[in-house]
Protein backbone atom coordinates (compact mmCIF):
# COMPACT_ATOMS: atom_id res chain seq x y z
CA UNK A 1 0.00 0.00 0.00
CA UNK A 2 1.22 3.49 -0.85
CA UNK A 3 1.76 6.33 1.55
CA UNK A 4 -0.08 9.64 1.59
CA UNK A 5 2.56 11.27 3.77
CA UNK A 6 6.19 10.41 4.42
CA UNK A 7 8.20 12.72 6.66
CA UNK A 8 11.76 12.32 7.93
CA UNK A 9 13.33 14.55 10.55
CA UNK A 10 10.79 17.30 9.92
CA UNK A 11 11.61 20.53 11.76
CA UNK A 12 9.89 23.90 11.93
CA UNK A 13 11.49 26.74 13.83
CA UNK A 14 10.16 30.25 14.35
CA UNK A 15 13.17 32.22 15.48
CA UNK A 16 14.24 30.71 18.80
CA UNK A 17 11.04 28.67 19.13
CA UNK A 18 11.12 25.11 17.81
CA UNK A 19 7.49 24.23 17.08
CA UNK A 20 8.22 20.86 15.47
CA UNK A 21 11.41 19.16 16.53
CA UNK A 22 12.38 16.43 14.09
CA UNK A 23 9.41 14.14 13.53
CA UNK A 24 9.01 11.09 11.27
CA UNK A 25 5.61 10.22 9.83
CA UNK A 26 4.41 7.37 7.63
CA UNK A 27 0.74 7.81 6.86
CA UNK A 28 -0.66 5.08 4.59
CA UNK A 29 -3.35 6.00 2.07
CA UNK A 30 -7.01 5.34 2.87
CA UNK A 31 -6.57 5.40 6.62
CA UNK A 32 -7.75 7.83 9.22
CA UNK A 33 -4.62 9.04 10.97
CA UNK A 34 -4.56 11.01 14.21
CA UNK A 35 -2.05 13.44 15.66
CA UNK A 36 -2.91 13.58 19.36
CA UNK A 37 -1.38 16.04 21.75
CA UNK A 38 -2.05 19.00 24.03
CA UNK A 39 -2.22 22.60 22.83
CA UNK A 40 1.21 23.79 21.81
CA UNK A 41 2.49 20.30 20.98
CA UNK A 42 3.20 21.27 17.35
CA UNK A 43 0.12 19.65 15.79
CA UNK A 44 -1.11 22.69 13.88
CA UNK A 45 2.39 23.52 12.63
CA UNK A 46 2.76 19.94 11.40
CA UNK A 47 -0.60 20.16 9.67
CA UNK A 48 0.32 23.43 7.98
CA UNK A 49 3.49 21.84 6.64
CA UNK A 50 1.52 18.84 5.35
CA UNK A 51 -0.87 21.17 3.52
CA UNK A 52 2.02 23.11 1.90
CA UNK A 53 1.02 26.30 3.72
CA UNK A 54 4.38 26.76 5.44
CA UNK A 55 7.88 25.72 4.57
CA UNK A 56 9.72 23.18 6.74
CA UNK A 57 12.91 24.53 8.30
CA UNK A 58 14.63 21.18 7.85
CA UNK A 59 13.92 17.58 7.03
CA UNK A 60 12.13 15.96 4.14
CA UNK A 61 8.42 15.76 3.46
CA UNK A 62 6.55 14.00 0.71
CA UNK A 63 2.77 14.43 0.39
CA UNK A 64 0.87 12.36 -2.21
CA UNK A 65 4.19 11.78 -3.93
CA UNK A 66 5.03 15.51 -4.16
CA UNK A 67 8.06 17.06 -2.53
CA UNK A 68 7.03 19.88 -0.27
CA UNK A 69 9.45 22.45 -1.53
CA UNK A 70 7.96 25.87 -1.76
CA UNK A 71 10.06 27.01 -4.67
CA UNK A 72 8.31 24.38 -6.76
CA UNK A 73 4.80 24.70 -8.16
CA UNK A 74 2.30 23.75 -5.42
CA UNK A 75 -0.89 24.08 -7.45
CA UNK A 76 -1.19 20.42 -8.60
CA UNK A 77 -0.68 19.20 -5.03
CA UNK A 78 -3.14 21.65 -3.49
CA UNK A 79 -5.85 20.45 -5.86
CA UNK A 80 -5.56 17.00 -4.26
CA UNK A 81 -5.65 18.13 -0.62
CA UNK A 82 -8.59 19.46 1.36
CA UNK A 83 -7.82 21.53 4.44
CA UNK A 84 -10.16 22.07 7.40
CA UNK A 85 -8.47 24.74 9.47
CA UNK A 86 -8.98 25.32 13.16
CA UNK A 87 -11.74 27.70 14.20
CA UNK A 88 -14.20 29.65 12.09
CA UNK A 89 -12.64 30.64 8.81
CA UNK A 90 -15.77 30.66 6.67
CA UNK A 91 -16.36 33.64 4.41
CA UNK A 92 -18.93 35.62 6.39
CA UNK A 93 -19.78 37.92 3.48
CA UNK A 94 -21.12 34.95 1.54
CA UNK A 95 -24.06 32.58 2.03
CA UNK A 96 -23.65 28.86 2.73
CA UNK A 97 -23.95 27.93 -0.95
CA UNK A 98 -21.74 30.82 -2.07
CA UNK A 99 -19.00 29.64 0.30
CA UNK A 100 -18.96 26.30 -1.49
CA UNK A 101 -19.22 27.91 -4.93
CA UNK A 102 -16.37 30.35 -4.25
CA UNK A 103 -14.07 27.53 -3.13
CA UNK A 104 -15.09 25.36 -6.07
CA UNK A 105 -14.03 28.23 -8.34
CA UNK A 106 -10.76 28.71 -6.43
CA UNK A 107 -10.14 25.08 -7.35
CA UNK A 108 -10.88 26.01 -10.97
CA UNK A 109 -13.96 23.81 -11.32
CA UNK A 110 -16.11 24.86 -14.29
CA UNK A 111 -19.34 26.62 -13.22
CA UNK A 112 -21.76 23.72 -13.95
CA UNK A 113 -19.56 21.30 -12.01
CA UNK A 114 -19.13 23.85 -9.21
CA UNK A 115 -22.91 24.15 -8.90
CA UNK A 116 -23.35 20.37 -8.92
CA UNK A 117 -20.60 19.87 -6.32
CA UNK A 118 -22.09 22.59 -4.10
CA UNK A 119 -25.48 20.82 -4.18
CA UNK A 120 -23.91 17.46 -3.33
CA UNK A 121 -21.91 18.92 -0.48
CA UNK A 122 -24.93 20.76 0.93
CA UNK A 123 -26.42 17.27 1.20
CA UNK A 124 -23.25 15.83 2.72
CA UNK A 125 -23.17 18.58 5.34
CA UNK A 126 -26.93 18.22 5.96
CA UNK A 127 -27.39 21.90 5.16
CA UNK A 128 -29.80 21.74 2.18
CA UNK A 129 -32.35 23.76 4.13
CA UNK A 130 -29.79 26.44 4.98
CA UNK A 131 -28.25 26.90 1.53
CA UNK A 132 -29.07 30.61 1.35
CA UNK A 133 -28.47 31.37 5.03
CA UNK A 134 -25.74 33.73 6.15
CA UNK A 135 -22.85 32.17 8.05
CA UNK A 136 -23.65 33.87 11.35
CA UNK A 137 -27.14 32.36 11.22
CA UNK A 138 -25.63 28.85 11.51
CA UNK A 139 -24.94 26.96 14.75
CA UNK A 140 -21.37 26.02 15.62
CA UNK A 141 -21.92 22.43 14.48
CA UNK A 142 -23.39 23.55 11.15
CA UNK A 143 -20.47 25.89 10.54
CA UNK A 144 -18.02 23.07 11.22
CA UNK A 145 -19.85 20.74 8.83
CA UNK A 146 -19.78 23.45 6.17
CA UNK A 147 -16.05 23.91 6.78
CA UNK A 148 -15.54 20.18 6.17
CA UNK A 149 -17.77 20.30 3.07
CA UNK A 150 -15.77 23.27 1.77
CA UNK A 151 -12.57 21.22 2.02
CA UNK A 152 -14.19 18.56 -0.17
CA UNK A 153 -15.09 20.72 -3.20
CA UNK A 154 -12.12 19.49 -5.21
CA UNK A 155 -12.85 15.84 -4.32
CA UNK A 156 -9.45 15.55 -2.57
CA UNK A 157 -7.63 12.29 -1.89
CA UNK A 158 -6.27 13.64 1.38
CA UNK A 159 -8.18 15.74 3.89
CA UNK A 160 -6.32 17.41 6.72
CA UNK A 161 -8.44 18.45 9.71
CA UNK A 162 -7.16 20.61 12.54
CA UNK A 163 -9.17 20.09 15.74
CA UNK A 164 -12.41 19.34 13.88
CA UNK A 165 -14.69 19.28 16.93
CA UNK A 166 -13.11 21.72 19.37
CA UNK A 167 -15.75 23.93 20.93
CA UNK A 168 -18.74 21.84 19.83
CA UNK A 169 -21.39 20.34 22.10
CA UNK A 170 -21.54 16.51 22.31
CA UNK A 171 -24.42 16.13 19.88
CA UNK A 172 -22.74 18.32 17.26
CA UNK A 173 -19.48 16.40 17.73
CA UNK A 174 -21.22 13.11 17.01
CA UNK A 175 -22.65 14.52 13.80
CA UNK A 176 -19.18 15.67 12.68
CA UNK A 177 -17.64 12.28 13.57
CA UNK A 178 -20.37 10.53 11.63
CA UNK A 179 -19.58 12.67 8.55
CA UNK A 180 -15.85 11.92 8.89
CA UNK A 181 -16.45 8.17 9.18
CA UNK A 182 -18.59 8.47 6.06
CA UNK A 183 -15.63 10.07 4.26
CA UNK A 184 -13.27 7.36 5.42
CA UNK A 185 -15.58 4.67 4.10
CA UNK A 186 -15.27 6.30 0.68
CA UNK A 187 -11.51 5.79 0.81
CA UNK A 188 -10.42 9.35 1.56
CA UNK A 189 -7.25 9.57 3.63
CA UNK A 190 -7.83 11.67 6.75
CA UNK A 191 -5.22 13.31 8.94
CA UNK A 192 -6.83 14.62 12.11
CA UNK A 193 -5.19 16.63 14.85
CA UNK A 194 -6.96 16.59 18.18
CA UNK A 195 -6.40 17.04 21.87
CA UNK A 196 -9.43 14.88 22.65
CA UNK A 197 -8.48 11.30 23.35
CA UNK A 198 -12.02 10.07 22.76
CA UNK A 199 -11.98 11.66 19.32
CA UNK A 200 -8.69 9.98 18.47
CA UNK A 201 -9.97 6.63 19.78
CA UNK A 202 -13.22 6.84 17.78
CA UNK A 203 -11.93 8.16 14.48
CA UNK A 204 -8.36 7.03 14.00
CA UNK A 205 -7.02 3.75 12.67
CA UNK A 206 -3.53 4.80 13.70
CA UNK A 207 -2.09 7.74 15.53
CA UNK A 208 0.97 9.43 16.88
CA UNK A 209 1.13 11.18 20.23
CA UNK A 210 2.95 14.51 20.15
CA UNK A 211 4.30 16.57 22.99
CA UNK A 212 6.59 19.61 22.81
CA UNK A 213 7.26 19.23 19.11
CA UNK A 214 8.20 15.55 19.25
CA UNK A 215 6.44 12.27 18.63
CA UNK A 216 6.49 10.30 21.86
CA UNK A 217 4.47 7.25 20.81
CA UNK A 218 2.87 5.73 17.73
CA UNK A 219 0.41 2.89 17.11
CA UNK A 220 -3.27 2.03 17.02
CA UNK A 221 -5.52 3.41 19.80
CA UNK A 222 -5.97 0.01 21.44
CA UNK A 223 -2.33 -0.94 20.85
CA UNK A 224 -1.09 2.21 22.56
CA UNK A 225 -3.26 1.56 25.60
CA UNK A 226 -2.17 -2.07 25.78
CA UNK A 227 1.51 -1.19 25.47
CA UNK A 228 1.67 1.75 27.85
CA UNK A 229 -0.86 1.40 30.67
CA UNK A 230 -2.62 -1.31 32.68
CA UNK A 231 -6.12 -1.95 31.28
CA UNK A 232 -8.12 -0.84 34.32
CA UNK A 233 -8.08 2.41 36.24
CA UNK A 234 -9.52 3.28 39.62
CA UNK A 235 -9.96 6.95 40.46
CA UNK A 236 -10.24 7.93 44.11
CA UNK A 237 -12.23 11.15 44.29
CA UNK A 238 -12.81 13.40 47.27
CA UNK A 239 -9.95 12.32 49.53
CA UNK A 240 -9.03 14.91 52.14
CA UNK A 241 -5.32 14.14 51.98
CA UNK A 242 -4.23 13.04 48.50
CA UNK A 243 -0.82 11.79 49.69
CA UNK A 244 -2.56 9.63 52.32
CA UNK A 245 -4.94 8.23 49.76
CA UNK A 246 -2.13 7.40 47.35
CA UNK A 247 -0.22 5.53 50.09
CA UNK A 248 -3.28 3.32 50.68
CA UNK A 249 -3.13 1.86 47.19
CA UNK A 250 0.64 2.04 46.79
CA UNK A 251 2.00 -1.45 46.19
CA UNK A 252 -1.42 -2.80 45.17
CA UNK A 253 -1.78 -0.68 42.03
CA UNK A 254 0.93 -0.90 39.37
CA UNK A 255 1.17 2.85 39.28
CA UNK A 256 -0.40 5.71 41.23
CA UNK A 257 -0.67 9.33 40.08
CA UNK A 258 -2.11 12.42 41.72
CA UNK A 259 -3.95 14.48 39.09
CA UNK A 260 -5.64 17.63 40.29
CA UNK A 261 -7.95 16.62 43.15
CA UNK A 262 -7.95 12.92 42.31
CA UNK A 263 -5.75 9.92 42.95
CA UNK A 264 -5.56 7.68 39.91
CA UNK A 265 -4.54 4.07 40.48
CA UNK A 266 -3.61 1.91 37.51
CA UNK A 267 -3.80 -1.85 37.88
CA UNK A 268 -5.14 -5.03 36.45
CA UNK A 269 -6.79 -5.97 39.75
CA UNK A 270 -9.22 -3.14 40.40
CA UNK A 271 -11.04 -5.28 42.98
CA UNK A 272 -7.96 -5.37 45.19
CA UNK A 273 -7.59 -1.61 44.84
CA UNK A 274 -11.16 -0.85 45.88
CA UNK A 275 -10.95 -3.36 48.73
CA UNK A 276 -7.85 -1.63 50.02
CA UNK A 277 -9.58 1.77 49.91
CA UNK A 278 -12.67 0.47 51.73
CA UNK A 279 -10.56 -1.22 54.38
CA UNK A 280 -8.60 1.98 54.97
CA UNK A 281 -9.51 4.95 57.10
CA UNK A 282 -10.26 7.15 54.07
CA UNK A 283 -13.63 8.84 54.64
CA UNK A 284 -16.19 10.04 52.15
CA UNK A 285 -14.28 9.06 49.05
CA UNK A 286 -15.91 7.96 45.80
CA UNK A 287 -14.38 5.25 43.66
CA UNK A 288 -14.64 5.37 39.89
CA UNK A 289 -13.56 2.28 37.98
CA UNK A 290 -13.05 2.54 34.25
CA UNK A 291 -11.04 1.23 31.31
CA UNK A 292 -7.73 2.89 30.54
CA UNK A 293 -7.86 5.50 27.76
CA UNK A 294 -5.42 7.36 25.54
CA UNK A 295 -5.53 10.11 28.16
CA UNK A 296 -3.85 7.69 30.55
CA UNK A 297 -1.29 6.77 27.90
CA UNK A 298 -0.45 10.42 27.48
CA UNK A 299 -0.19 10.93 31.21
CA UNK A 300 2.06 7.92 31.67
CA UNK A 301 4.36 9.08 28.85
CA UNK A 302 4.62 12.75 29.77
CA UNK A 303 3.61 13.06 33.41
CA UNK A 304 1.11 15.76 32.50
CA UNK A 305 -2.49 15.72 31.28
CA UNK A 306 -3.76 16.37 27.75
CA UNK A 307 -6.44 18.92 28.51
CA UNK A 308 -5.87 21.25 31.44
CA UNK A 309 -9.01 21.87 33.51
Amino acid sequence: MGHAVVARGLVKRYGALTAVDGIDLDIPIEVSFGILGPNGAGKTTTMRMLSAAIEPTAGSLEVLGHDINLTAEQRPLKRRIGVVPQGDTLDKDLTVRENLMAYARYHDLPWPLARQRADELLGFAQLEQRADARIDELSGGMQRRLLIARALVSDPELVILDEPTTGLDPQARHLVWERLRNLRRRGTTLVITTHYMDEAARLCDALVVMDRGRIIAAGTPTGLIRDHVPPRVTEIIGAGDLEDASRVVDGIAQRVEIIGDRVVAYGRDSQAISDAVRASSLDGVTLLERDATLEDVFLSLTGHVLVED
Binding site: A53, A58, L61, I81, V83, L94, A102, R105, Y106
Partner: protein, 275 residues
Amino acid sequence: MAAVATEPRSRNTFVDVVAWPRISVRSAWHMWERNFMRFRRGIFQYVLPNFLEPILYLLAIGLGLGLYVGTQILGVEYVAFLAPGLAASSAMYGAVFEVTWNSYFKMKVERNYDSVIATPLGAEEVALGELLWATTRSGIYGTAFTIVLVVLGHAESWLVVFSPLALPLIGMAMGVIGMSFTILAKQIEYLTYFFNLFVIPLFLFSGIFFPVSDLPGWARTLAWFTPLHHGVEMNRALVLTGDAGTAALHALWLVAFILLLLPIPMNLLRRFLRV
Protein backbone atom coordinates in the same frame (compact mmCIF):
# COMPACT_ATOMS: atom_id res chain seq x y z
CA MET B 1 12.95 10.35 -1.69
CA ALA B 2 12.05 13.97 -1.20
CA ALA B 3 14.65 16.67 -1.47
CA VAL B 4 15.92 17.96 1.84
CA ALA B 5 14.74 21.46 2.69
CA THR B 6 17.46 23.58 4.16
CA GLU B 7 17.51 26.73 6.26
CA PRO B 8 15.97 29.65 4.32
CA ARG B 9 18.42 31.12 1.82
CA SER B 10 19.56 34.66 2.40
CA ARG B 11 17.51 36.77 0.04
CA ASN B 12 17.69 40.13 -1.54
CA THR B 13 14.64 41.69 0.10
CA PHE B 14 14.33 44.62 -2.31
CA VAL B 15 14.37 42.42 -5.40
CA ASP B 16 11.95 40.00 -3.71
CA VAL B 17 9.43 42.79 -3.25
CA VAL B 18 9.60 44.50 -6.65
CA ALA B 19 10.17 41.53 -9.00
CA TRP B 20 7.22 40.14 -10.93
CA PRO B 21 6.06 36.84 -9.39
CA ARG B 22 4.81 33.92 -11.48
CA ILE B 23 1.04 34.12 -11.49
CA SER B 24 -2.04 32.72 -13.14
CA VAL B 25 -4.46 35.49 -14.08
CA ARG B 26 -7.15 32.85 -14.31
CA SER B 27 -6.68 31.99 -10.63
CA ALA B 28 -6.75 35.68 -9.70
CA TRP B 29 -10.00 35.99 -11.63
CA HIS B 30 -11.61 33.40 -9.30
CA MET B 31 -10.98 35.83 -6.45
CA TRP B 32 -12.74 38.52 -8.50
CA GLU B 33 -15.68 36.14 -8.95
CA ARG B 34 -16.00 35.72 -5.18
CA ASN B 35 -16.42 39.46 -4.84
CA PHE B 36 -18.84 39.61 -7.72
CA MET B 37 -20.97 36.92 -6.05
CA ARG B 38 -21.27 39.11 -2.98
CA PHE B 39 -21.85 42.23 -5.07
CA ARG B 40 -24.61 40.63 -7.16
CA ARG B 41 -26.76 40.12 -4.08
CA GLY B 42 -26.48 43.71 -2.90
CA ILE B 43 -26.37 45.48 -6.22
CA PHE B 44 -28.72 48.29 -5.20
CA GLN B 45 -27.03 48.96 -1.92
CA TYR B 46 -23.71 49.19 -3.78
CA VAL B 47 -24.60 51.04 -6.95
CA LEU B 48 -27.33 53.47 -5.96
CA PRO B 49 -25.19 55.63 -3.64
CA ASN B 50 -22.71 55.98 -6.49
CA PHE B 51 -25.25 57.94 -8.49
CA LEU B 52 -26.39 59.98 -5.53
CA GLU B 53 -22.98 61.26 -4.47
CA PRO B 54 -22.00 62.99 -7.75
CA ILE B 55 -25.44 64.54 -8.08
CA LEU B 56 -25.07 66.06 -4.63
CA TYR B 57 -21.57 67.34 -5.39
CA LEU B 58 -22.47 68.84 -8.71
CA LEU B 59 -25.69 70.38 -7.40
CA ALA B 60 -24.00 71.90 -4.36
CA ILE B 61 -21.14 73.31 -6.38
CA GLY B 62 -23.11 74.14 -9.52
CA LEU B 63 -25.93 75.88 -7.68
CA GLY B 64 -23.97 77.18 -4.73
CA LEU B 65 -20.21 77.60 -4.90
CA GLY B 66 -20.24 78.12 -8.68
CA LEU B 67 -22.09 81.41 -8.27
CA TYR B 68 -19.15 82.84 -6.32
CA VAL B 69 -16.56 81.57 -8.79
CA GLY B 70 -17.37 84.07 -11.51
CA THR B 71 -14.35 83.45 -13.72
CA GLN B 72 -14.28 80.84 -16.42
CA ILE B 73 -11.57 78.17 -16.42
CA LEU B 74 -10.48 76.61 -19.74
CA GLY B 75 -13.31 78.53 -21.35
CA VAL B 76 -16.07 76.90 -19.31
CA GLU B 77 -17.89 77.73 -16.10
CA TYR B 78 -16.40 76.37 -12.86
CA VAL B 79 -18.75 73.40 -12.40
CA ALA B 80 -17.87 72.06 -15.85
CA PHE B 81 -14.16 72.39 -15.02
CA LEU B 82 -14.72 70.57 -11.73
CA ALA B 83 -16.90 67.68 -12.95
CA PRO B 84 -14.27 65.53 -14.78
CA GLY B 85 -11.87 65.90 -11.85
CA LEU B 86 -14.51 64.80 -9.38
CA ALA B 87 -15.24 61.80 -11.62
CA ALA B 88 -11.55 60.88 -11.35
CA SER B 89 -11.62 61.20 -7.55
CA SER B 90 -14.78 59.11 -7.44
CA ALA B 91 -12.94 56.34 -9.32
CA MET B 92 -10.06 56.65 -6.86
CA TYR B 93 -12.33 56.35 -3.80
CA GLY B 94 -14.13 53.34 -5.26
CA ALA B 95 -10.85 51.43 -5.28
CA VAL B 96 -9.15 52.71 -2.13
CA PHE B 97 -12.11 51.94 0.14
CA GLU B 98 -12.03 48.39 -1.19
CA VAL B 99 -8.31 47.78 -0.67
CA THR B 100 -8.13 49.50 2.72
CA TRP B 101 -11.09 48.89 5.05
CA ASN B 102 -12.54 45.88 3.21
CA SER B 103 -9.20 44.21 2.55
CA TYR B 104 -7.98 44.87 6.09
CA PHE B 105 -10.99 43.00 7.48
CA LYS B 106 -10.61 40.07 5.11
CA MET B 107 -6.84 39.93 5.56
CA LYS B 108 -6.30 40.62 9.27
CA VAL B 109 -9.62 40.38 11.14
CA GLU B 110 -11.53 37.55 9.47
CA ARG B 111 -8.28 36.02 8.12
CA ASN B 112 -10.11 34.79 5.04
CA TYR B 113 -7.00 34.67 2.87
CA ASP B 114 -5.31 32.04 5.06
CA SER B 115 -7.92 29.50 3.95
CA VAL B 116 -7.95 30.73 0.36
CA ILE B 117 -4.24 30.02 -0.07
CA ALA B 118 -4.82 26.41 1.00
CA THR B 119 -6.54 26.09 -2.41
CA PRO B 120 -4.58 26.33 -5.69
CA LEU B 121 -4.70 30.15 -5.36
CA GLY B 122 -1.42 31.70 -4.29
CA ALA B 123 -1.06 34.85 -2.21
CA GLU B 124 -0.04 36.83 -5.33
CA GLU B 125 -3.22 35.80 -7.08
CA VAL B 126 -5.33 36.70 -4.08
CA ALA B 127 -3.78 40.20 -4.15
CA LEU B 128 -4.24 40.56 -7.89
CA GLY B 129 -7.85 39.32 -7.74
CA GLU B 130 -8.69 41.79 -4.99
CA LEU B 131 -7.06 44.59 -7.00
CA LEU B 132 -9.02 43.62 -10.10
CA TRP B 133 -12.18 43.82 -8.05
CA ALA B 134 -11.17 47.21 -6.62
CA THR B 135 -10.58 48.32 -10.21
CA THR B 136 -14.06 47.12 -11.13
CA ARG B 137 -15.57 49.07 -8.25
CA SER B 138 -13.59 52.08 -9.39
CA GLY B 139 -15.09 51.63 -12.86
CA ILE B 140 -18.60 51.44 -11.41
CA TYR B 141 -18.09 54.65 -9.40
CA GLY B 142 -16.46 56.44 -12.32
CA THR B 143 -19.11 55.35 -14.82
CA ALA B 144 -21.94 56.39 -12.50
CA PHE B 145 -20.34 59.81 -12.15
CA THR B 146 -19.81 60.09 -15.89
CA ILE B 147 -23.46 59.26 -16.63
CA VAL B 148 -24.61 62.00 -14.24
CA LEU B 149 -22.09 64.42 -15.71
CA VAL B 150 -23.32 63.77 -19.26
CA VAL B 151 -26.99 64.00 -18.26
CA LEU B 152 -26.35 67.37 -16.58
CA GLY B 153 -24.74 68.61 -19.78
CA HIS B 154 -21.15 69.01 -18.55
CA ALA B 155 -19.52 66.86 -21.24
CA GLU B 156 -17.98 69.01 -23.97
CA SER B 157 -16.24 66.29 -26.03
CA TRP B 158 -17.46 63.05 -27.55
CA LEU B 159 -14.27 61.47 -26.14
CA VAL B 160 -16.26 61.20 -22.88
CA VAL B 161 -17.33 57.74 -24.12
CA PHE B 162 -13.79 56.58 -23.24
CA SER B 163 -14.04 57.80 -19.64
CA PRO B 164 -15.61 54.61 -18.25
CA LEU B 165 -12.66 52.64 -19.70
CA ALA B 166 -9.98 55.11 -18.63
CA LEU B 167 -11.14 55.88 -15.08
CA PRO B 168 -10.45 52.32 -13.74
CA LEU B 169 -6.73 52.97 -14.42
CA ILE B 170 -6.88 55.48 -11.57
CA GLY B 171 -8.52 52.87 -9.35
CA MET B 172 -5.89 50.23 -10.17
CA ALA B 173 -2.97 52.63 -9.60
CA MET B 174 -4.33 53.90 -6.29
CA GLY B 175 -5.40 50.36 -5.35
CA VAL B 176 -1.80 49.13 -5.71
CA ILE B 177 -0.63 51.76 -3.23
CA GLY B 178 -3.59 51.30 -0.88
CA MET B 179 -3.27 47.53 -0.73
CA SER B 180 0.48 47.68 -0.04
CA PHE B 181 -0.25 50.06 2.81
CA THR B 182 -3.00 47.79 4.18
CA ILE B 183 -0.68 44.76 4.20
CA LEU B 184 1.97 46.73 6.11
CA ALA B 185 -0.48 48.37 8.55
CA LYS B 186 -0.07 46.79 11.98
CA GLN B 187 -3.36 48.18 13.26
CA ILE B 188 -6.51 49.28 11.53
CA GLU B 189 -6.06 52.81 12.92
CA TYR B 190 -3.05 53.25 10.59
CA LEU B 191 -5.42 53.27 7.65
CA THR B 192 -6.53 56.71 8.81
CA TYR B 193 -2.98 57.93 8.20
CA PHE B 194 -3.18 56.65 4.65
CA PHE B 195 -6.32 58.71 4.08
CA ASN B 196 -5.30 61.85 5.94
CA LEU B 197 -1.69 62.00 4.77
CA PHE B 198 -2.08 60.64 1.25
CA VAL B 199 -5.58 60.28 -0.20
CA ILE B 200 -7.05 63.60 0.97
CA PRO B 201 -3.99 65.70 0.00
CA LEU B 202 -4.16 64.10 -3.45
CA PHE B 203 -7.86 64.88 -3.62
CA LEU B 204 -7.18 68.53 -2.80
CA PHE B 205 -3.99 69.19 -4.82
CA SER B 206 -4.30 67.05 -7.96
CA GLY B 207 -5.96 69.68 -10.10
CA ILE B 208 -9.58 68.83 -9.34
CA PHE B 209 -10.53 72.15 -7.76
CA PHE B 210 -7.97 74.42 -9.44
CA PRO B 211 -5.34 73.86 -12.14
CA VAL B 212 -2.07 72.39 -10.86
CA SER B 213 -0.31 75.18 -12.81
CA ASP B 214 -1.43 77.54 -10.01
CA LEU B 215 0.76 75.62 -7.53
CA PRO B 216 4.41 76.51 -6.80
CA GLY B 217 6.99 74.64 -8.88
CA TRP B 218 7.98 72.06 -6.26
CA ALA B 219 4.32 71.16 -5.65
CA ARG B 220 3.77 70.76 -9.39
CA THR B 221 6.72 68.36 -9.52
CA LEU B 222 5.34 66.42 -6.56
CA ALA B 223 1.91 66.21 -8.20
CA TRP B 224 3.47 64.79 -11.36
CA PHE B 225 4.55 61.71 -9.43
CA THR B 226 1.04 60.91 -8.14
CA PRO B 227 -1.59 58.85 -10.01
CA LEU B 228 -4.58 61.04 -9.26
CA HIS B 229 -3.06 64.08 -10.95
CA HIS B 230 -2.62 62.13 -14.19
CA GLY B 231 -6.10 60.67 -13.77
CA VAL B 232 -7.62 64.11 -13.42
CA GLU B 233 -5.75 65.51 -16.45
CA MET B 234 -6.62 62.42 -18.48
CA ASN B 235 -10.30 62.62 -17.71
CA ARG B 236 -10.47 66.37 -18.23
CA ALA B 237 -8.92 65.88 -21.68
CA LEU B 238 -11.57 63.25 -22.47
CA VAL B 239 -14.56 65.13 -21.08
CA LEU B 240 -13.70 68.78 -21.62
CA THR B 241 -10.91 69.63 -24.06
CA GLY B 242 -11.22 66.60 -26.33
CA ASP B 243 -7.43 66.41 -26.57
CA ALA B 244 -6.90 62.70 -27.29
CA GLY B 245 -3.09 62.96 -27.29
CA THR B 246 -2.96 64.45 -23.80
CA ALA B 247 -5.41 61.86 -22.52
CA ALA B 248 -3.33 59.05 -24.02
CA LEU B 249 -0.09 60.34 -22.47
CA HIS B 250 -1.61 60.49 -18.99
CA ALA B 251 -3.20 57.05 -19.47
CA LEU B 252 0.23 55.75 -20.49
CA TRP B 253 1.74 57.21 -17.32
CA LEU B 254 -0.90 55.33 -15.27
CA VAL B 255 -0.29 52.05 -17.12
CA ALA B 256 3.46 52.35 -16.56
CA PHE B 257 2.90 53.12 -12.88
CA ILE B 258 0.68 50.05 -12.50
CA LEU B 259 3.07 47.70 -14.31
CA LEU B 260 5.99 48.94 -12.26
CA LEU B 261 4.37 48.78 -8.83
CA LEU B 262 1.84 45.92 -9.12
CA PRO B 263 4.34 43.25 -7.96
CA ILE B 264 4.76 45.04 -4.62
CA PRO B 265 1.36 44.25 -3.04
CA MET B 266 1.49 40.74 -4.54
CA ASN B 267 4.88 40.00 -2.98
CA LEU B 268 4.01 41.72 0.29
CA LEU B 269 0.85 39.64 0.67
CA ARG B 270 2.82 36.44 0.18
CA ARG B 271 5.24 37.54 2.87
CA PHE B 272 2.37 38.50 5.19
CA LEU B 273 0.50 35.21 4.78
CA ARG B 274 3.64 33.08 5.29
CA VAL B 275 4.19 34.33 8.83
